[in-house]
């Protein structure tokens, strides 16, 4: 399992340090190369510099939120196709309808999913 993901890299974007930290730890344990960012602005720089295979993206963040970040990123040719998982605790109608507008992204509520399940979803998505 770990060998499969050896060269795969992932960008974790979340403003909550504890959440970002545990995700980073979990993905590292699973053999991913992990990059992190604490808001959308920072995430764009890290993403364009490192071109990760996947982005796990929070939505509600200071400076630049997840939607703004992704819209910005999609101006880049590579950014158009990078798979994204929105991992958020916002479940308002606006958030969901906005999230599904991004065809490259899927939407998961944080409290609905455990760490193992997140890793499973990421691997499934990468295998596609």
């Amino acid at each position: 399992m770990e060998q499969e993901t050896k060269e795969k890299s992932i960008l974790v974007v979340d403003d909550e340090e504890d959440l970002r930290g545990v995700l980073e730890q979990k993905f590292t344990d699973e053999g991913f190369t992990v990059f992190t960012a604490k808001n959308g602005k920072e995430a764009i720089d890290v993403a364009l510099k490192n071109k990760p295979d996947m982005i796990v993206l929070d939505i509600v963040m200071p400076e630049m939120n997840g939607f703004e970040m992704l819209s910005e990123l999609q101006k880049d040719e590579w950014g158009k196709n990078v798979p994204v998982i929105f991992l958020t605790n916002s479940s308002s109608l606006e958030t969901i309808s906005k999230a599904v507008e991004f065809s490259s992204a899927e939407y998961i509520v944080k409290t609905d999913i455990g760490l193992d399940e997140i890793v499973k979803r990421v691997k499934e998505r990468m295998a596609r």
Binding site: V22, S91, L93, V109, K110, T111
Partner: protein, 446 residues
């Protein structure tokens, strides 16, 4: 008042005397004229005069007296009738006057409403409420012009239907836009009355402005929604850290630590579930429930839920009997349906005593799927049955048996199933058990 009553007989006597004298003069002149004719034509006027004059002068006097008397009596009679009528109408008026005043001056908007929705005789408060400068400007306007028939005021259509059919309307809520463009929530009551002498139905309508209550309600709901969202972040922090401790191969916890970790995990999951319930309830109330229908294998969904609740069934040695149709796919929202089945199964496990039985059934017909959960639990008392889907209601025997519970599960389930175009019902007997049945269309009709 006394003076006029006293002066009346005198005026009647004067009128009688006047007529008497008038008749005396007129009749006297007539008699004098007739007498003259007789005297001129007669050969012996003196004989004639004595006989005829006696008759003539007697009847002259009688006629005058009779005319005076008749006048007096006629006037007396007429005055009595007028007095009586005045007395009666004065009474009726003084009886109704306070009501009229109450209607006109009441702070409650009142108006008459005909079957086509036309507003008649609005009181001051009604005119003010509809944003008209005075009652006259409000008169003749149609109530339907004010009604906003958007999704939130589904009531607008039945209101119209009810009025057309002449059904009384009891505290029906609707949203309106006043003439000044303000949005208001109203609670309308219409007493249907038949107007005398006319073949059209008119009702007396009373309005209560519930805009403020609605606004408070919305704020409360929004607060719950906001607070719940805020709670999710720390809950996620706890969830994922515990998850990491529980699942990472790095740690080799002894059994004792693992047990504590599991307990923290379960406590946190319960909290998450509670927050999700609060969020769902606020969504129901704000009308922002998200429905995403997709082909759903009902049996698979039910089996997943059974796996989740199996520990609580096993703990009480409750026997689970399942009767599932071989295949049943419905086009519905599986997240909402899952919550409903979870609720029914959790309730069955919760309110069924040790070594009881729970029957789970999925039946599939050509048009519908029927999901049933039957338990041998405490049952719902007859007096509680009509309230069982009410928000935050819990039957007394349920509270006695299990202290904890929000009273939101069945309220939520009922709202979800209605949103999905289905129905939920139950049969129950105290001490024997309860069977909840959910019927859903395989394809929701639009």
């Amino acid at each position: 008042m006394d003076q006029t009553v006293e002066s009346k007989p005198r005026s009647r006597v004067v009128a009688g005397l006047y007529v008497f004298l008038l008749t005396l003069i007129v009749a006297g002149a007539g008699i004098w004229y007739i007498q003259n004719i007789f005297i001129q034509n007669s050969s012996r006027p003196e004989i004639l005069l004595s006989n005829v004059a006696l008759i003539l002068y007697t009847s002259w006097l009688i006629t005058a007296i009779a005319a005076g008397l008749v006048t007096y009596l006629w006037l007396t009679r007429r005055e009595q009738a007028v007095a009586l009528a005045e007395q009666m109408s004065g009474g009726v008026l003084s009886y109704f006057q306070p009501f009229q005043q109450l209607y006109d001056e009441s702070p409650m908007p009142y108006f008459m409403l005909d079957a086509s929705g036309v507003i008649e005789r609005p009181n001051k408060a009604a005119a003010r409420f509809f944003g008209a400068p005075n009652e006259a400007e409000c008169e003749g306007k149609n109530l339907y012009e004010f009604l906003i028939e958007d999704g939130k005021s589904k009531n607008a259509v039945p209101l119209r239907t009810k009025l057309e059919r002449g059904v009384p309307i009891n505290k029906q809520e609707a949203q309106i836009r006043t003439l000044s463009g303000e949005m208001r929530w109203i609670q309308l009551t219409v007493f249907v009355m038949e107007r005398l002498g006319e073949h059209r139905r008119v009702g007396l309508a009373a309005l209560v402005d519930i805009t403020q209550e609605k606004e408070m309600d919305r704020m409360k709901t929004e607060f719950v929604s906001l607070a719940s969202h805020q709670l999710r972040t720390p809950l996620t922090t706890v969830k994922w850290q515990i998850d990491y401790l529980r699942t990472s191969k790095k740690f080799a916890w002894n059994e004792e630590v693992s047990t504590y970790l599991e307990k923290i995990h379960h406590g946190n999951e319960r909290m998450i579930e509670l927050v999700n319930t609060l969020l769902n309830v606020s969504r129901i109330e704000m009308g922002t429930l998200q429905v995403k229908p997709e082909d759903t294998d009902i049996v698979k969904l039910f089996e997943d839920v059974i796996e989740e609740v199996r520990p609580s069934l096993d703990q009480k040695h409750i026997r689970l009997v399942t009767t599932f149709a071989p295949a049943c796919v419905a086009h519905t929202d599986q997240n909402l349906l899952r919550i409903v089945i979870q609720n029914l199964m959790t309730n069955a496990a919760r309110y069924t005593p040790e070594a009881g039985e729970v029957h789970a059934t999925v039946t599939c017909s050509r048009e519908n799927v029927e999901v049933a959960v039957a338990d041998t639990g405490c049952g719902i008392p007859p007096e509680a049955q009509s309230h069982i889907f009410t928000k935050m209601y819990r039957a007394e025997n349920a509270v006695k048996m299990v202290a904890q519970g929000t009273g939101l599960g069945l309220y939520m389930s009922h709202a979800f199933i209605e949103t999905l175009g289905g129905s939920i019902g139950f049969v129950s007997e105290v001490g024997k058990g309860t069977t909840f049945t959910v019927t859903l269309p395989l394809h929701k009709k639009q």
